[in-house]
């Protein structure tokens, strides 16, 4: 990397040294040759013999020096520089010196080079030295593929001969930039006694840049006889040509072109329309004002409309005056009106000044009517302001007076302002439509609906603890300390209560009747099942009620006496009877167990009661216990929720008898197992 940098530095240094040497050599050479050139240029024919001898010696010396390419190059540059600064006789002598020394031959040699920079250098040299013999050699390069060569060749062709411009316009195939056009025109202006050709001949050229250049030359040389051709060009597809044509029309004051412009005005684009309006500004008359006023009604650009108005004012000053927009809610005082202005009319409207005072009566009326029509059809900006204002009013005033407020309805209207009702009539129609629509719905009493929902919810709940009316037994009295801290203790032992009292309290809290009423059956799980199964399933469930049912099921069975199915009715009666017997038996057993607990501790080791009957566990009454316990895990896993009740039968026996609400009937049996069995039985 360092070596490369070093090499680069060395290369740059050497290049700089070389260039410095070369420029120093060139400066020295120029200094040596300058007196020679001066002598050659200002030698006089009537000079004495000594001067002529000196002249010949210098000429021989120069020829010797010009054999060297570098010297020849420097000498040629000197002559070219002087050729730019000199004119008249000195220039002619310079040209003679150039050709006498055969420097033009070396320039011709450059035209044969394949390198474009050498080629262009040769063209420039020959053109600058005005070597007219080079015209035929240079003109083929007018359409050279290289832009630099092409442009130099074009300039050389036009400058070397007067007919060069015609040849150039005939043969140019490439585009001609505006700068190139200006340079070519500058070359033409340097011709003395130049008679320009009729450039209208090239208005039909296939090259649009040639047409544009021809229009520029027509305008420059004031060739106004090309009026007919210019009118034809108004229909040219190129907008630039149209605009250039319009400029010519404007300069030449071709009034005949106004009517075609009026006819074709709507077809033009905005830029062309602006140029047309410029023409009307210069050439228009009062009879064109009608046409200009119609422009305002057309769907044109805002700038075109403004231009039309300004054109009207140019033709007839003060015809169109500035207008102030109508304001409906703001007063003049809010706007800051003039202090000397008269009192505004009611409503805060500012009158529009009457235009066209200087015009004839008939024309003034026509213009006034046209202006009024314009006010009735506001511009886009006015329409937007109006819509905005209407929306603000609508929001502030709310619904339309006397009409139904339907703003809450998601009406889909075809109106432009996105559904906002514009008038009261449309809103009314929509409201009537809505009222007349047929509605399919049931009238639901809110209270009845709530009651049904609550019953369905409560039917699924097992109330284990005390009802809300009773203070919770787990919370003892609260004592406030000096620090305002409340100390409390949790009592883990549930308080014993009568189940009937509990049921009554619960029902009272739920707003229901006494527990003896049939509504207590809603706490049974079978009620939900019976609601959704058929008669056969009900028969199966009745058997299960006998197996696992309690008092709740007993009460529920009473309600089945009104079932549709006769079999269900009969069986429910039978099951109710048998379940009652079972419950009585259980109640007796529990009472005996309670009595045995109250006996002295010496009898604790006894495993039998006083009656000789061993204490039964509630599970023993369940003949399904074995089947449930023998159920294989994994069977019907969808319904099998693996959980176990923590309370044992001993704890359960400590609870009061018949406390069915506190404990399930068969705590050791999974309820889901039971339901699973029922489900299996229902579906065979």
């Amino acid at each position: 990397m360092g070596v490369l940098c070093l090499l680069l530095v060395i290369l740059v240094f050497r290049t700089k040294v070389r260039l410095s040497k070369r420029s120093a050599y060139i400066a020295q050479k120029k200094q040596e040759l300058a007196p020679v050139v001066s002598s050659f240029l200002f030698i006089e024919e009537d000079a004495d013999r000594g001067e002529k001898t000196e002249y010949l010696k210098m000429k021989v010396s120069i020829r010797e020096q010009l054999k060297d390419a570098n010297s020849r190059k420097v000498f040629a540059e000197m002559l070219l520089d002087l050729q730019r600064d000199l004119s008249g006789e000195a220039r002619e002598r310079l040209y003679s010196l150039y050709t006498d020394l055969n420097l033009h031959e070396f320039a011709f040699e450059k035209l044969k080079s394949w390198r474009w920079e050498v080629l262009s250098q040769g063209i420039v040299e020959l053109a600058q030295m005005q070597v007219t013999d080079a015209y035929s050699y240079i003109k083929p390069f007018i359409n050279h593929r290289k832009g630099v060569v092409r442009k130099q060749a074009q300039l050389a062709t036009v400058s070397l001969k007067r007919e060069g411009i015609q040849y150039f316009l005939d043969t140019a195939r490439y585009g001609i930039s505006e700068w190139q056009q200006m340079k070519l025109m500058d070359v033409l202006t340097q011709f003395k006694d130049f008679i320009p050709p009729r450039f209208s001949l090239w208005l039909t050229s296939g090259n649009p840049d040639v047409v544009l250049f021809a229009l520029r030359l027509i305008r420059h040389y004031r060739q106004n006889e090309a009026g007919a051709a210019l009118n034809t060009l108004l229909g040219h597809p190129d907008d630039k040509i149209k605009i250039a044509t319009l400029e010519c029309i404007r300069e030449f004051c071709l009034v005949d072109a106004l009517e075609p412009l009026k006819a074709n005005f709507p077809q033009y684009r905005t830029e062309v329309k602006m140029a047309v309006l410029d023409v009307f500004t210069e050439l228009g008359s009062e009879k064109d004002i009608q046409f200009l006023l119609t422009i305002k009604k057309q769907r044109v650009s805002y700038i075109v409309k403004s231009k039309a108005l300004s054109t009207i004012n140019r033709i007839a000053p003060d015809t169109v005056l500035p207008q102030i927009a109508e304001i409906t809610t703001r007063t003049v005082g809010d706007i800051g009106g003039k202090p000397n202005s008269p009192d505004p009319p009611p409503g805060g409207m500012i009158p529009v000044p009457d235009p066209g005072d200087g015009q004839g009566a008939d024309e003034g009326d026509e213009w006034q009517s046209l202006l009024e029509e314009e006010e009735a059809c506001p511009d886009i900006s006015d329409l937007c302001c109006r819509e905005e204002w209407e929306s603000i009013l609508f929001e502030l005033t709310g619904a339309y007076q006397g009409e139904l407020d339907l703003s809450f309805l998601p009406l889909i209207m075809e109106h432009e302002d996105k559904g906002r009702p514009e008038g009261g009539g449309e809103v009314k129609k929509e409201a009537e439509k809505i009222r007349e629509m047929e509605v399919e719905a049931a009238v639901v009493d809110e209270e009845e609906k709530f009651r049904l929902e609550l019953e369905s919810i409560l039917g699924r709940i097992y109330i284990v603890d005390k009802p809300a009316s009773q203070p919770h037994s787990s919370v003892t009295g609260l004592e406030a300390t000096e620090d305002n801290e409340i100390n409390f203790e949790l009592d883990s032992e549930p308080r014993k209560q009568d189940s009937a009292q509990e049921t009554q309290d619960i029902n009272e809290d739920a707003g229901m009747d006494s527990p003896a009423a049939p509504t207590a059956y809603r706490f049974s799980i079978f009620e939900e099942l019976f609601r959704h199964c058929d008669a056969e399933s009900k028969l199966i469930l009745l058997d299960e009620i006998l197996a696992v049912g309690g008092e709740k099921e007993l009460l529920f069975l009473h309600t089945l006496e009104t079932d549709e199915s006769l079999e269900v009715r009969d069986k429910s009666v039978e099951i109710a009877q048998r379940l009652g017997e079972v419950l009585e038996k259980d109640a007796t057993v529990l009472q005996q167990a309670k009595e045995e607990e109250e006996m002295p501790a010496a009898n604790e080791g006894s495993s039998q009661t006083s009656a000789g009957i061993p204490p039964k566990q509630s599970l023993e009454n369940c003949f399904l216990q074995t089947t449930a316990s023998t159920a294989q895990p994994g069977e019907n896993s969808l319904w099998d929720v693996p959980f176990e009740l923590e309370e044992t039968s001993a704890n359960i026996t400590a609870n009061p008898v018949g406390d069915e609400l506190n404990t399930p009937a068969y705590p050791g049996v999974s309820l889901l197992d039971r339901l699973n069995k029922i489900w299996g039985g229902m579906h065979g």
């Binding site: 200094q31 600064d85 000199l86 004119s87 008249g88 000195a90």
Partner: protein, 127 residues
């Protein structure tokens, strides 16, 4: 060498060495003594030493333009020496400014050295 300019000094201020050499050669051939200055500083130095009979100056020069030279000669040196301005084509505004400051004549490029010689002789004849 003609007797037209014998005994007359011309201060030529032109930064183009070749053109200056050409003009100087022509003026010397007409008998004038030509003092050539390549920039405005040399012009000021010459003017501090002695005032020439006529000044021929280009408008665009390094360090000290022809406009400033006219202003210097007319306001600082309070001299009425004739000044001829050589201007390039399209420099009309500068020409007008030079006339306002007191230039006597101007000649635009490209020009004929013979024409310049005539103008110089005419201005010297006036004085």
């Amino acid at each position: 060498m003609t007797a037209e300019g014998i005994g007359r000094t011309v201060l030529l201020a032109e930064d183009d060495h070749l053109l200056a050499s050409l003009i100087g050669f022509r003026l010397e051939k007409a008998g004038y003594q030509v003092l050539m200055a390549a920039n405005g500083r040399d012009v000021k130095q010459y003017l501090s030493e002695s005032m020439p009979d006529i000044i021929v100056s280009d408008i665009m020069m390094p360090y000290f333009s022809g406009i400033e030279l006219i202003d210097y000669v007319r306001t600082k040196l309070l001299s009425t020496v004739p000044v001829i301005i050589i201007s390039s084509a399209g420099n009309e505004e500068n020409v007008l400014t030079a006339f306002e400051l007191g230039a006597n004549d101007f000649i635009a490029k490209p020009f004929s050295p013979s024409e310049l010689l005539v103008r110089v002789g005419r201005e010297l004849t006036k004085t």
